[in-house]
């Protein structure tokens, strides 16, 4: 069944909501189980939307953005799965794998945004320095607006205007350019860490930095919790040592004082 202009626009509008949600990670309506259902509702085939949602949600169960990597976009994958199943009449499972190129396209766009939005940071820094909260907020609104627009365009074009050319575009992007963006995405956090180190790092703290690095490099664990626990251990050791030192310092001070005054008064 073909998609009408109205349905295309409605899908685009929903893509804005789900896309913004996937950007902010607030209500999780970007997850396939919800986005498929809503897309099914818009296309007048709720039953199929729910079934597709169940299948796609399970396929995405292991694909989490935790730890900084960006899996194929679940919102776009969900919407396109239902769109493809609806327009071509294939089974939801087949439609899901056909929707992956679109989800990948959105992922590339988001990766690009993650990198490109770095250029807004100096502007936000300046607004922060001037305590200009209005200007500061405008940058945040601008970034969210760009994300929303991208989601609307991708879904509206993919679903309504041009399914075939979109698919071709994903395949035609030069591999080296996509790969270059991926590499930049993986290397850019180093700039952020370097800036953090510029503020925090002093020679006496260097051992702890290296410790955390070594722990995370050799313990292959899904998050940084083990390193954090070791950080807590050392922090506690230092804490109690500092406390003890401070107490000793106070006692020495007290002794000095009482020694001086006592010596004069008691004449011992």
């Amino acid at each position: 069944m073909a998609i009408t202009l109205m349905q295309g626009l409605m899908l685009g509008l929903f893509a804005i909501v789900a896309g913004l949600d996937s950007w902010l990670e607030v209500l999780y309506i970007f997850r396939p189980i919800i986005s498929c259902t809503v897309a099914g509702l818009i296309l007048g085939d709720v039953q199929m939307g729910i079934i597709a949602g169940g299948l796609t949600e399970l396929a995405f169960a292991g694909l989490t953005p935790a730890g900084g990597t960006q899996p194929p976009n679940p919102a776009v994958c969900g919407i396109m799965t239902v769109v493809i199943a609806h327009t071509t009449g294939v089974a939801p499972a087949t439609a899901m794998s056909l929707s992956l190129p679109f989800a990948m396209l959105m992922q590339y766009i988001l990766l690009m945004f993650y990198s490109i939005f770095t250029v807004f940071m100096p502007g936000m820094d300046k607004a922060a320095e001037q305590a200009d909260t209005k200007k500061f907020g405008r940058y945040a609104y601008l970034m969210m607006a760009i994300v929303c627009a991208a989601f609307f365009i991708v879904i509206f074009l993919s679903a309504y205007a041009a399914q075939t050319p979109m698919q071709a575009l994903v395949e035609a992007m030069p591999k080296w350019l996509i790969h270059g963006f991926e590499l930049a995405g993986a290397a850019l956090p180093a700039v952020g860490f370097a800036m953090l180190l510029k503020v925090l790092l002093r020679m006496e703290y260097l051992p702890f930095l290296l410790l955390g690095f070594v722990v995370a490099s050799f313990i292959n664990y899904s998050n940084v919790l083990p390193a954090a626990v070791i950080g807590v251990v050392f922090a506690m050791i230092e804490f109690f040592r500092d406390k003890k030192n401070k107490k000793l310092q106070d006692q020495i001070e007290a002794l000095k004082q009482s020694g001086v005054s006592g010596g004069e008064e008691d004449g011992i």
């Binding site: 729910i50 180093a190 952020g192 370097a194 995370a216 998050n223 070791i230 406390k243």
Partner: protein, 272 residues
């Protein structure tokens, strides 16, 4: 939770009590904006600061310098768990309200965001989502609308938890504040230690660089660097950037441009 304070005016409780319970509730809701200004360089920093702007405006009032310092400090790298972040925001807001030293607030923030990200990922992505998603999907795959409805309700609950979490953090901060202020020097130091340990771990897991170059039959990355020390390249690269920033006073914008050009060129020539 001090919900009975909702109706008291902001200034009625003395000079250092400027926030009402309602403000903290709003902070919990605004914590949704954490990732509004996400970029790779500083991750959630922009949204993190933006979400807290209203409470800071109330705390600092006419004190433009204080507001400027708070905003600038909070533009540093941060990446933590979105569903848990309101605890941290509440905690630090209570510190800001009492005008605890910037050093201490920054130290606490840097010490806490990493561990909270780990805890949050473990709870929300690796525990809650597989369980709820699995159950809901099993309903949905049979065409039962209960699946998506159940899923949606659980995550509305996750969203609503941001509000009590903000209060929890704020109340925790108000109670712990004397202890914290008394030992602020030690705590800042200890928090820095914890923070740097985590940052070390983050460098290892977030920054990735891998060479594809072969010298003869020896793959430089797989057969040499990985054998010597895995992730040595990301560490060296981070320190190189740190050196450029600190000693050469290179601007961060230049560094970002360098990273981009370097990566795309390396990709084009198949070096990485």
């Amino acid at each position: 939770m001090a919900s009975d304070e909702i109706k008291t005016t902001p200034t009625s409780e003395g000079s250092d009590k400027k926030l009402t319970s309602h403000d903290i509730t709003m902070l919990g809701i605004r914590s949704s904006l954490l990732q509004a200004a996400f970029s790779y360089e500083r991750m959630q920093a922009g949204g993190w600061a933006w979400a807290q702007v209203p409470v800071w405006k109330k705390i600092f009032g006419k004190d433009k310098k204080g507001l400027s310092e708070a905003m600038t400090d909070n533009m540093e790298f941060i990446n933590t768990s979105p569903p848990l972040v309101s605890i941290l925001m509440g905690l630090l807001t209570s510190m800001e309200e009492k005008h605890v030293s910037r050093q201490t607030i920054r130290g606490l923030k840097n010490g806490l965001f990493g561990p909270m990200a780990g805890i949050g990922d473990a709870i929300y992505w690796f525990t809650l989502m597989p369980i709820v998603g699995g159950i809901a999907a099993s309903f949905a795959a049979k065409g039962n609308p209960l699946g998506p409805i159940l899923y949606f309700l659980v995550y509305v609950g996750v969203f609503l938890c941001r509000i009590p979490f903000a209060h929890l953090g704020y109340n925790l901060g108000t109670k712990a504040i004397d202890v914290i202020q008394e030992n602020s020097e030690i705590i800042a130091r200890v928090a820095t230690i914890m923070g740097l340990t985590v940052i070390g771990a983050l460098i290892s897991s977030y920054v990735s660089l891998s060479l594809k170059v072969k010298i003869g039959t020896v793959a430089l990355q797989k057969d040499f660097l990985d054998k010597v020390f895995p992730n040595i390249l990301p560490l060296a690269f981070t320190f190189f950037l740190f050196w450029l920033l600190k000693k050469k006073k290179v601007s961060p914008i230049v560094l970002i441009a360098v990273v981009f050009v370097l990566c795309i060129v390396c990709s084009f020539f198949g070096i990485m």
